[in-house]
Structure formats: structure tokens, C-alpha cells
Amino acid sequence: MNHRSILKFTAGLLIAGLSITGGVARAATDASEITVWETFLKEAIFKDANIIEDKTVIDMNTPYRAEDAAVTPVTITAQFAQTPERYIEKLYLVVDKNPQPLVGEFNLTPDMGKADLALRVRIDQYTFIRAIAVLNNGEHHMVANFVKAQGGCSDPPQGDLDAAMQRIGKMKFRTVGELLADGTQVGQFSVSHPNLTGMQVNQRNGFTIPEHYVKTVKLTFDGKVIMEAKTGISVSADPSFRFFFKPGHGGKFKAEVEDSKGNKFAEEFDVSQSAAEQKT
């Protein structure tokens, strides 16, 4: 089953499940949240994988109460460095009660140095949010946080949609902070895209705006893949990712993005040696 069909499949299951059980969506108790995960999502995404819930591989920071449900910051922190011997090869991010629960799958590499990842997501209602790390030895480790937020998937597009469409595909990349002792540095990549959920209403005519979202993001540095992501509508508008990479003596950072309408965007950024070693 490819990624796309998993997304559709899990959403379908979730909706079916909610209608069968009647009040799951309204009863925002911990118990019902766990039911959604245990009953539908875990198997739909991970089949029979043994998922260990602990913090030995990753931890995750989310606000307990998300102030802006359309833009909820999520920071996943790896507990150890990426080495060719032992590394996190994949992160999944799941928001149990979102219409499309699978936020994204992120393929990571030892070339990141450290598998931290920060991004912003939409939260549709009080829910658990889960990060699942898959190690190169096949182990699955999960952390889960409860987040109080609602309405993020139907929030009208931020700002003026016409203006957002004008700058669609525009990209930014920068390094943040200084080069660390282990040779890693924080990189921040953003792509301007309204990431329309298909649930937002055009305020002018009352019609639903069709979905239009970033589907894949591939980030490489000096020809080596840092991160390759498949994403969906649960990622906030203007997707933005923070991660580690190893700038070394500088090189070319390349970003390739494809959206759900088949639009492809690519841009290269120079990471100079001085920029990589300079304190910012």
C-alpha cells in the first residue's frame, strides 16, 4: 500500500470508526484517544510491528494547549547521534483525531548527524499526537503527547489566498546558530504553499476550497540526502522544517518539492564555508 492510499485508508477508517462508535469525537478522554490509535491507526500504518512506547530513542515537545490550532509547533528530539551503525531511518508523525491522521513519513539518514525534526502541524480537535521512530535495526519506538487544540483543519487560509498562490513554491533556507562541536548545525527550510486541506471554506462565496498540499519534500546537501518526506494536509500552511545537517566546508543545499497537483519546485542554496563556521 503506497503512502497516499494509507492516508486515505486511515482517514476512511477513522471516519467509519467514529460513526460506528457514535461519540468518540466528542468524548475527548484519554481512553477514547487510545482507542482510536489502538483500534484503527496502529494497524493501518504499522501493521503488526511491535511498537515500544519509551523515550530511549526520541522525545517530543508539543504545547499542552496549542494556542493556534492551524500552526502547532512539534519538535522531535533524537536521544543519540546518527551513525552508520545505529541511526533513526524513519520518523512518522500521527495526529490521532485529525481527518488525515498521518501527518507525514520522514526518511532520515546518518548524514543528518542528529535526527531532530521540528515542524508545524494542524490539530483539528483535542487529540494525542505521536511520533514513531524506526531504527535501522527495525525497532519501532513511540512517544505520545496529548494536545488541546481544535479547528486547525478548517481554519481559513492564513492571510490572503491570492497572495499565497502568487508566492507558491518560493523557498527559504538558512542555517541557524553556530556550528556545533560534533560538526552539526541547525538548518531551517521553508516552502511557501497554502497547503489547502480541502476542508477550508472560501469566505467570499461559501464554497469549500479543493485540497492542494505539499506531497513530497527532498532535501540534499552536497548530493547526499538529508531528509525525504511524504506529507499531507495535516502539515501547516507554508511548511517549515528544522533539522540538523553537517555543513562541513560548505556546499550546495538543494530542496525539491512536489505538491498534490503535480507542481514541482526546486531550488539550490549555497552554504559557504564561512557561513557554516561563522557564529550567527
Binding site: E67, P73, V186, S192
Partner: protein
């Protein structure tokens, strides 16, 4: 121009004096249903500064009415039908003329869910910004889910009343011996902000374009809001009635604190963006110098920062 009906002459002027001399807070917040004649014929019920989770969350906005010789215009109706009913009852003690207009200054629940209290009797016109009908339509689900109880024991979409009369730029309403000038603004606090000027007394009802004491909440555009403030503060008006907090008598002075808060947000968030700080760090730190100046800071501040951050990120 002054108002000359007997009814207005009988209005309790001492309340206006109390407002002017700074007793507004204590005088206005006394139960059961406070009502202050801020200017002749302009009656305000002051909302409470409590959270959306508080039992009194349906009574947090300033609402009121303007009395003409022929009829009355309601300006905002409160966050529940019962609040709207209480306003209607308070109005009935002041005037016998019917309600001909129910004006909503924007789409937020605390200003609009009381509309249904005014549908039955005189069948007034419901008036709002040209964007208000769509804004109401797209919020019906949200209102029913989160504030259904405010519509009574059996809430329904039919109890959420949007406008039937829309204002594109300006609209004059005649109450008989008193004309109101309604003005629709570009996206600022929300995308459907409307002000009401009572031309007889120069009283300006600003809705949530003006917050005082209670922290402003941003649902539109920070740059748009600051531009509207810039334009508003040059206007020559009399009393000013905010959407939250006490009335004032000097528009520029009344706008100053809000303007400063919004300007600090822009400055601080631009600083965080320039430094490459993530949105959660900006939410923790931006605007901190303003914290002591506003009530219910936790209710909106971080969300405001988030909105500003995403608005300015791609400017």
C-alpha cells in the same frame, strides 16, 4: 447636533459623569445587568474580563444600543441568546420605540450569538460588514460545537443569525432625528470589522478594533489592524466605545495602548524571524514587555504571536 427628545433628556446623565471621572469600572460592573449612557442616547452594557471557559463567558463583550426618535439600533448582542434577552429587557426600560437595526461589529461569538433575541418582535434589519455573512456561515459549525449551549437547550443553526444588510464601504442608517454612519474596514481584527458612528453625538462604537484592559485578539491581519488604527486615530469623534473595556473620550488616547501592543508584536516577531528562531520560541518571548499591561494575557497572547509570525514570515 444635539438630541432633543424627552426620552433622551430624561436619561441619567450622572452615569456619563461617572464614566468621565473614572468610576466607570465599579459603576458599570455591578450586577445584575449594568447599563451606562456613555453619551446621550448611546447605552453600553460592559462585558466582563473573564475567559472563554468562565461561566460568564457569554457576557464578555461590550454591547448596547442607540436610541432615535423612530427606532433603536442594537450594536452587538452578546455571547448568548440570554445575554441578548437581557439587553433587550434593559432597553425596554429606556425606550418604547422598536428596534429597527441589529448591527454586528464582527463575527466573534461574544458579539453575535445574542442576535436571535431580536428576531421576533419588530423584525429588524441585521446589518454587518460585506464579509460578515460568509464569516457567519463558515463559523456555524464552530459556534454550535463550542457555544451551542449559549443558544439554549436545543441549539440549531437557525438560531445563529447573520446579516441581511451588508456594508461594502459605508452606510447611513436613519433612526429618526439621529443618523448613524457605518463603516466597513479592510482586514484588521477580523476580516469583517465594522464601526458605528452616531453622528448626533459623535460617539464611535469600534467593536473589537479597540480593546482596552483585556488583551487584544488577532484573527485578521496585524499589518491591516495597525493601518486601520493609523487611519482611525486622526478621526474627530466624541466618546469612544471599545469592544472590551471602558469607554473613553479621546480616540487617540484610547487607541494608544493597543497600538503599542501590536507594534511591539511586529517589532519583536521580526527580530525572532531575523534570528531564525522557531515559532514556539517567539511565542514564549515576543511581546513580553507588554505582559503587565493587559488582563487575560494567557487567553490570547501566544496565539497572537503565532498569527503575527506566520503573517510576517513571508512578507
Amino acid at each position: 447636533m444635539t438630541i432633543t427628545t424627552n426620552r433622551h433628556k430624561r436619561a441619567p446623565r450622572y452615569l456619563a459623569i461617572l464614566v468621565a471621572s473614572g468610576f466607570a469600572t465599579t459603576a458599570a460592573y455591578a450586577p445584575p445587568f449594568n447599563l451606562t449612557e456613555v453619551a446621550p442616547g448611546n447605552f453600553v452594557h460592559y462585558g466582563k474580563h473573564v475567559t472563554f471557559e468562565d461561566k460568564d463567558h457569554d457576557d464578555i463583550a461590550n454591547i448596547g444600543f442607540i436610541v432615535g426618535e423612530r427606532c433603536v439600533a442594537i450594536v452587538d448582542t452578546g455571547g448568548s441568546i440570554s445575554t441578548g434577552e437581557a439587553l433587550k429587557a434593559a432597553m425596554a426600560e429606556r425606550t418604547q420605540v422598536p428596534v429597527c437595526y441589529v448591527i454586528n461589529t464582527h463575527v466573534h461569538f461574544d458579539h453575535l450569538l445574542g442576535n436571535a433575541a431580536f428576531t421576533a418582535a419588530a423584525q429588524p434589519k441585521f446589518v454587518g460588514h460585506a464579509n460578515l455573512a460568509d464569516a457567519v456561515a463558515s463559523n456555524v459549525g464552530f459556534f454550535l460545537k463550542n457555544y451551542g449551549g449559549n443558544l439554549g437547550p436545543q441549539p440549531s443553526a437557525a438560531m445563529i443569525i447573520g446579516p441581511d444588510t451588508m456594508v461594502d464601504s459605508t452606510l447611513e442608517l436613519d433612526l429618526g432625528g439621529r443618523k448613524l454612519l457605518l463603516r466597513a474596514w479592510p482586514k484588521a481584527h477580523t476580516n469583517a470589522d465594522l464601526t458605528v458612528l452616531d453622528q448626533a453625538t459623535g460617539t464611535l462604537w469600534l467593536g473589537d478594533l479597540l480593546f482596552r484592559e483585556r488583551i487584544p485578539s488577532l484573527d485578521g491581519s496585524i499589518k491591516g489592524w495597525l493601518a486601520v488604527i493609523e487611519e482611525l486615530q486622526g478621526e474627530k469623534v466624541g466618546a469612544v466605545i471599545p469592544g472590551h473595556g471602558p469607554a473613553g473620550d479621546d480616540l487617540r488616547v484610547a487607541l494608544a495602548a493597543e497600538k503599542q501592543y501590536l507594534e511591539v508584536l511586529v517589532k519583536d516577531v521580526r527580530g525572532h524571524l531575523a534570528a531564525g528562531d522557531p515559532i514556539d520560541q517567539a511565542a514564549e518571548q515576543a511581546g513580553a514587555s507588554e505582559q503587565g499591561r493587559w488582563q487575560l494575557w494567557e487567553q490570547h497572547h501566544k496565539r497572537n504571536v503565532s498569527k503575527v509570525y506566520t503573517e510576517l514570515e513571508w512578507e
